[in-house]
Symmetry: C2
Subunit: 350 residues, 2 copies
């Protein structure tokens, strides 16, 4: 164990992502079984906080695009606090918590189950209270995660949601094959991105606030990158869609407020290019990440990633520069990314 060396746990777990994903792919039976349950249900209600909620954002797009199903990030306080008279009997709740111990998520799952919803738990702990509350469990098989800042459980969660959505539509095998190819691309990317990031973080040592921008599928990557920067580097990094940036927040973009832009090469490219133009016009340092990083005009820093088999596989790659950047920048700022201020690995507050 090298947990006493600052950042060693987070760095090791970032590097373990390909292996963790291969373990997930090694047994798709739980995902097939869960997909069978979801197929007979109407809405897919995703319930999560923190990193798992960033993954839930991915789930909205995965279920929409791969399965033609409406998925939503559930407003858990409707059941947990307000006892709202929602009809849930025809729906499924996909409850996501790496620890399986997030109090809200467990309570919401229990309340929804009492009202007739089917519950699928996506968790890294098959013996957790969330797993016990569920009809079926999709185990993440990420292995023990020691760093407070989740990385490998994020990757396995989005892969599990993508596989689940594709399997609902009967295309799970092809999606799994795409994940396997993406894992190979990850292995090369991690070393390359780590080297690229090492030469970049020095310029961000004094940064206190940022915006992290994407549109569509990669919004999950923006949310997760922003969360990593916030919890490990103590930067207030706000994730926004490229369009929402223009609906107000762009007024706060200026030279000392960098903009991190996740440039997918998909149909949203025009919106991202326009957001990049506005950020640069306001004088911001612009970091372009993703497989279309090279196409963003006038980016200050580019952190490209390999092409993914499909836009729904791209987030497995485009989050990696952000994870590595947050880890390296925290260290450059004298912080230990494995032990952020005021946080524990399992969040048990209301």
């Amino acid at each position: 164990m090298t947990a006493a060396v600052p950042g060693s746990a987070m760095r090791a777990e970032i590097r373990e992502q390909p292996d963790a994903l291969e373990r997930l792919l090694s047994d798709l039976d739980p995902i097939r079984e869960a997909a069978g349950l979801l197929r007979s249900r109407e809405l897919v209600r995703l319930a999560a906080h923190g990193t798992s909620d960033a993954a839930a954002t991915y789930g909205v797009y995965a279920f929409g695009i791969a399965a033609g199903r409406t998925a939503l990030r559930d407003a858990m306080s409707l059941t947990v606090y307000y006892d709202a008279p929602l009809r849930l009997a025809g729906d499924a709740v996909v409850a996501i918590s790496q620890s399986g111990r997030t109090p809200d998520v467990v309570q919401h799952a229990l309340a929804a189950r009492r009202r007739g919803a089917a519950i699928v738990a996506v968790t890294n702990d098959e013996r957790s209270p969330l797993a016990e509350a569920a009809d079926l469990v999709v185990p993440l098989r990420a292995g023990s995660e020691r760093a407070v800042a989740a990385t490998k459980t994020y990757a396995t969660t989005i892969a599990a949601l993508g596989l689940l959505a594709a399997e609902v539509q009967g295309t799970g095998a092809a999606f799994a094959e795409g994940v396997a190819r993406t894992v190979e691309a990850q292995r090369g990317l991690i070393d390359e991105a780590e080297a690229a990031v090492a030469g970049t973080v020095e310029g961000f040592r004094e940064v206190e606030r940022m915006f992290v921008i994407a549109r569509g599928i990669e919004l999950a990557t923006a949310r997760e990158t922003a969360l990593k920067l916030t919890e490990t580097c103590r930067i207030v990094a706000e994730p926004l869609t490229s369009t929402d940036l223009s609906h107000g927040p762009v007024a706060a973009v200026m030279p000392h407020v960098p903009v991190w832009l996740v440039a997918s090469g998909d149909a949203t490219a025009t919106a991202l290019t326009e957001a990049a133009r506005r950020a640069r016009a306001a004088g911001a340092t612009l970091v372009a990440v993703g497989q279309a990083a090279g196409t963003i005009p006038d980016a200050t820093v580019r952190l490209p990633v390999p092409a993914a088999p499909s836009p729904l596989h791209a987030p497995l790659l485009s989050v990696i520069p952000g994870q590595l950047f947050a880890c390296a920048l925290a260290l450059a700022r004298g912080l230990d990314p494995d032990a952020p201020a005021g946080l524990a690995k399992v969040t048990e507050v209301p």
Copy 2:
């Protein structure tokens, strides 16, 4: 016209909110008609950006609590960019845009209508492209809004959504009576809050980043307050649920990072008190706003508002200190809140 005096338009429009709400209440027929359309539909899909999207967050709670209906903030890029094969025929889209000209929202409404969804436009311009794209229009009747930072259209939008949700359940008249009583409370509050805010903003002149926290219904207030602070004061103000603050971002709370907490007096009080405790433990200046502001232990600043007829009426009051604070703080920082950098009144970018 006094538009040349910085902040005069925003201040005037904040003060016009009670009158604007009374105009909305003066003719509830469009809301009754729209509720009739929604009653026969499954999901309520809310589509909006910016301030209208903060209002959509309110809509999720209003439809859930007042009508037992699942409403979601739609991922518009699923239709606008990805042409995802969603089944929308049984659903309704409530498309919200004060200008009625937000390109995404109009495109999403048109795409959903082609697929059989019923479209209700909530807009301040009955002749806008969005109104033309809709089956039915709920006019906000806020009057011309000159300030870029929307205030009176936010108030009328959340009131319209609350009325719509209640009317779906057949309780629209009682809800309208509650809005009328809330309007009376607003009239007294505006002068009091303006005076309270005037004595407070000086301490925030150097603030560059903040968190704005709530849980449940008041999350809409948190999102809208954060957006006002961001666009008028150039503060990166990130809105979060009190629970999500604990899932990572609390690590970035420290003495120069204030936390603005919307303290509703409803069932979420425990979660808010815990978030307040964590913010204070991290050394943050804590601003407690809302009808339970007095119950938050150890708040640095308290901006109380009168008790509302019900938790769903409270956001019409609790947003007002935030609007006034943003306007006053922008002026104290030498900025014109009526003309934020890089923004136009109608956002027409992709």
